[in-house]
């Protein structure tokens, strides 16, 4: 019996590339056209972006007098929150994602799993590092430090650490079944931190911000990144089919949602994956009453089970207060936008009923009665949220205008939730910026368009009534 020779990953990749080329009818001309277009877009938009960034970086955000420490704490809180959200996002999709064909190669063949997966790991680290660098520079611009380059380096290190540790966590099967993760705890901690910073700025209790030299942060970031990447590489051999395939579905749905401009394509897959992890709930009975009352009970119970949405709703209460510390003139607009985002989190039941004809048939009643019953919880949530953020300021002095703005936010939430599945028919209109798919645009902005109008009304009426 002859001895089997396992090809190296490099040889296998080369062979696959060769086969792909043999089956492809793409000419060199096509390739050069694509490269030209890509380079054109990178130069055009990248250049504009870089110019805009340099201009902004040369003009640091002005801070209201005496709020420097609070601002610094808020920036740290936002960075931590961003890190926790990024962690959740990374873990949701993998973060190492492979096609089913690659999964078959690395699971079912004796090819070196580590060697195959190390290339995507490097790419992931580069992308995460670049994203982290941008965030670091933004934090410096917002007032954390005047040393942009070192802040960007520290940010890049943090980005790589997050991505690499997420890969390590992906390889750990024990972590996959946990309901609550460290990221959840960090997010909760962030809310406390923002609350403390807001209280600090409002009550003028000065909590000094520790003076950490930027080069120390950058050094720690780079060192931590090196250790994290080493840990991730060690974990690559333990990545099994479940770990690699789990996020591929979410990543595919995210891609479809982005291409088709329909976030529901992603949210459905994410929700199903979350509930599959949850598995069972404690069933309860409904209190007897008219249909609307039973539907409201069901919506409340579902809301209670979607604690992450409730958490975001509650956490967003702090946003207008935080903006009041950063940029007081923007509080009114930020409050309207945050109210919309917070209330929209509570409209999952309405979205479900609108998009699912089978549910409407099963539940009975009219479409209007089903819609109104599922709007009750968002309406109550908005009323509480609106009242809780009144002290942040930025509210039109005339109570009627304030009430109308709140009603408008509810209308925007209703409009967003009752958006029908995307239709890709419709004409293209010529504009000075090129062809515009009018129907697609109209569907995409359904809901946020009302918010934009409300922001304008808020700005124009902020001085009315005293």
């Amino acid at each position: 019996m002859s001895e089997l020779t396992v090809p190296s990953v490099r040889d296998l990749r080369q062979a696959l590339r060769h086969n792909r080329r043999a089956h492809s009818d793409r000419t060199l001309g096509d390739l050069l056209t694509d490269v030209y277009l890509l380079a054109f877009l990178v130069v055009l938009y990248g250049g504009a972006g870089a110019y805009s960034l340099r201009r902004h970086l040369s003009q640091p955000l002005p801070a209201p007098e005496g709020t420097e420490a609070s601002r610094a704490w808020l920036i740290v809180a936002l960075l931590v929150a961003l890190g926790a959200v990024a962690w959740r996002g990374l873990r949701l999709v993998g973060p190492l994602v492979t096609t089913p064909a690659v999964q078959a190669w690395i699971i079912s063949s004796p090819i070196s799993r580590r060697d195959w997966l190390i290339t995507p790991l490097w790419w992931l680290s580069v992308i995460a590092g670049a994203a982290g660098a941008v965030v670091g520079a933004a934090a410096a611009w917002a007032g954390l430090t005047p040393q942009f380059a070192l802040a960007a380096l520290a940010g890049a290190g943090a980005g790589v650490v997050l991505a690499a540790l997420a890969v390590r966590s992906q390889a750990d099967s024990r972590v996959r079944t946990r309901r609550f993760t460290v990221a959840d705890g960090v997010l909760a901690g962030t809310v406390v931190l923002v609350g403390a910073a807001v209280a600090d700025a409002t009550a003028r209790v000065r909590l000094p911000f520790p003076p950490v030299p930027a080069f120390v942060a950058a050094l720690v970031g780079v060192a931590a990144a090196a250790v994290a990447v080493r840990l991730a590489i060690q974990g690559l051999v333990r990545l099994d089919r479940t770990a690699l395939a789990g996020g591929a579905q979410v990543a595919g749905a995210a891609m479809s949602a982005a291409v088709m401009l329909d976030p529901a394509l992603l949210s459905g897959v994410v929700a199903a994956s979350r509930w599959r992890r949850m598995g069972r709930v404690h069933s309860g009975h409904w209190l007897p009453g008219p249909p609307a009352w039973v539907l409201i009970q069901a919506d409340l119970r579902r809301q209670w089970r979607r604690r992450a949405d409730l958490f975001i709703w509650a956490a967003l209460i702090l946003l207008p207060y935080a903006v009041a510390v950063f940029a007081p003139p923007a509080v009114g607009s930020a409050r309207i936008i945050a109210a919309f985002v917070a209330t929209d989190r509570l409209a999952g039941g309405l979205r479900m009923v609108v998009r699912t004809p089978a549910l409407r048939r099963a539940l009975g009643g009219t479409d209007a009665s089903l819609h109104w019953s599922h709007l009750a919880v968002p309406a109550i949530g908005l009323a509480v949220w609106w009242a809780a953020t009144l002290p942040a300021g930025g509210v039109p002095a005339a109570p009627v205008v304030s009430a109308l703005l709140a009603l408008g936010v509810l209308g925007a939430v209703y409009r967003t939730a009752t958006r029908k599945p995307m239709s890709y028919d419709g004409g293209i209109a010529d504009s000075p910026f090129g062809p515009v798919p009018v129907n697609l645009l109209r569907q995409t902005v359904r809901g946020p368009d009302v918010v934009a109008v409300l922001v304008l009304i808020g700005l124009f009426t902020s001085h009315l009534g005293g």
Binding site: R280, V281, W286, R360, G364
Partner: protein
């Protein structure tokens, strides 16, 4: 048993008294493809009509027209004296359906789903009815599970259970035997028999000759 007419149309005899559903001259096309041509049917209370035919013949299209989820190109569908409209609460109150678009709230358990349906349709003793249905369909073990965790067979049984925990005048079932095991099929046959006795009309598409032979009063052969 009703009589079969040429062209796949069947008219149940003695129509008129206790008529639940009347379909007259129904046509439906998808582009150039004529799926349903001049379908006529009258279904009385306590009658079961089995729609049979090969895949792609238009069985599901007919059922979806009757449930009101798609509009016919021509003809009329009258349910208890009024034209079928999916959004009409009278249609929703009268028709319990299991079609190919079945879906559930992902965050309510199996038992909660059934109880919610029962309450919304004012079923007497909803908790008791739901418990009986969970036992009958062997879903007791899954009572606290959320729908995304159910197997395809369990989802099918939950969809069927949703129809039977609420009052109904017409059951519209698209291949109800699909994904059911032998015991499940036996239960379905018995349940459909009970539906007849209780006076509900049933319009179902099926590929199972045994089930059709056991329960159907009328057969509507499409595309044969």
């Amino acid at each position: 048993m009703g009589d079969r007419e040429a062209g796949g149309a069947v008219v149940a005899r003695k129509a008129g008294a206790n008529e639940v559903l009347r379909i007259k001259g129904l046509r439906r096309s998808f582009g150039e493809l004529h799926v349903l041509r001049d379908v006529n049917l009258s279904l009385r209370s306590g009658q079961i009509c089995a729609v049979t035919g090969p895949n792609g013949a238009g069985k599901t299209t007919l059922l979806r027209c009757v449930a009101g989820t798609i509009k016919p190109d021509a003809g009329e569908i009258v349910l208890l004296g009024h034209a079928v409209d999916e959004a009409d609460p009278r249609t929703r109150a009268a028709v319990a359906s299991v079609l190919d678009d079945v879906d559930f709230f992902p965050d309510l358990s199996v038992a909660e789903h059934l109880e919610l349906t029962a309450y919304l349709h004012a079923t007497p003793d909803p908790v008791e009815v739901v418990e009986e249905m969970l036992t009958a369909l062997s879903l007791e073990g899954a009572r606290d599970q959320v729908p995304p965790t159910l197997s395809s067979g369990q989802r099918r049984r939950l969809a069927l259970a949703s129809c039977f925990v609420r009052p109904r005048r017409l059951l519209v079932l698209d291949e109800p035997e699909q994904r059911l095991d032998a015991l499940g099929k036996q239960w379905l046959t018995e349940q459909l028999g009970r539906e007849k006795k209780q006076g509900a009309a049933v319009l179902m598409a099926s590929h199972d000759p045994e089930l059709v032979d056991a329960v159907a009063d009328v057969r509507l052969a499409i595309g044969e």
